[in-house]
């Protein structure tokens, strides 16, 4: 409290360190149920496979699959195994630490479009200085050790550059 406050504190509180702030965390505890299509996808992840699902109308490959095409409103009909390499379509450099994260700053979070997919996966890009990461960069998945594979995206530790030439913007402009 500033010295100019017009509040007159009771005598017993005057020489004490005042409370200035409170912790007011908002905490929501859920059980997330993946549903059929995403469960298929997550089981694939646990065996180092990236499985998308194709829309029978537009032919696009959804990732992670939710079991239907958001554009055509029909169930996806075909499971498609995708490469575990692809293109950084867009990314951000994270400069702010948040609680619970052990990541060293700055680091890069990117949307990676695996070859053959029409939607990207979010992940980290590592093994390259953050300021060399760019749109169109070719990357490959770095998986956890086989005995640590789980049906969740933590099984992909991060993505790293393959060293291949960048993809031209036209090749992924629909996916940015």
């Amino acid at each position: 409290m500033s010295g100019s406050s017009p509040l007159a504190l009771p005598e017993g509180l005057r020489d004490l360190e005042p409370v200035r702030s409170i912790r007011a965390p908002a905490r929501l505890v859920y059980t997330f149920t993946a549903g059929e299509a995403t469960s298929r996808f997550l089981r694939g992840i646990a065996s180092k496979k990236i499985l998308g699902e194709r829309c029978p109308v537009c032919g696009k490959v959804m990732l992670p699959p939710r079991g239907s095409c958001p554009t055509d409103g029909v169930p996806t009909s075909e499971q498609v195994e995708l490469a575990d390499r692809g293109i950084v379509t867009t990314f951000c450099v994270v400069n702010v630490k948040f609680s619970g994260s052990a990541m060293e700053l700055p680091y890069v979070c990117a949307s990676v479009l695996p070859d053959g997919a029409d939607m990207g996966l979010f992940g980290l890009v590592q093994e390259v200085p953050f300021d060399q990461i760019r749109m169109g960069m070719r990357v490959e998945a770095v998986w956890v050790d086989d005995d640590e594979l789980q049906p969740n995206l933590a099984s992909i530790k991060w993505w790293r550059p393959t060293g291949e030439p960048d993809a031209p913007y036209e090749s992924y402009r629909e996916h940015v």
Binding site: V19, R27, L28
Partner: protein
Amino acid sequence: MTDAEILSAPLVLEYPFTRTVGPVQSAFLTGLREGLVLGVRAGDGRVLCPPVEYDPVTSAELTELVELGETGTVTTWSWEPDPRPHQPLDRPFAWALVRLDGADSALLHAVDAGSPEAMATGMQVRIRWSDERAGSITDIACFEPTAAGPA
């Protein structure tokens, strides 16, 4: 695919906010830490607890703090039969609005009454302080019925 093949997992969303409290709530919370409840006098003479920084009628800045008693009156209540984690008590209790002696408005808190039959609008309750106080509304552990009965 059977239900057993559908994956599910815990998912916790948490936003660890810290917020500053301003001068009036600072005084209120500092008071709680020291075992003292403060209200604030509004322009129409009423004493508000919990205290507010600005007059709810005129919006004028409020500056007169008033020391209140540790006993009060339940003005309304609702029984909580199945407390959830992090609620004030780990056994069934009443949520209640308590008008502390000396105040004209009421404070939301828990009453450790044992059963809903022990609750009544107008009953007298007393603050049970927490053993460890840190400048938070939880410095009041809860209220408990006094022997005095209805006001």
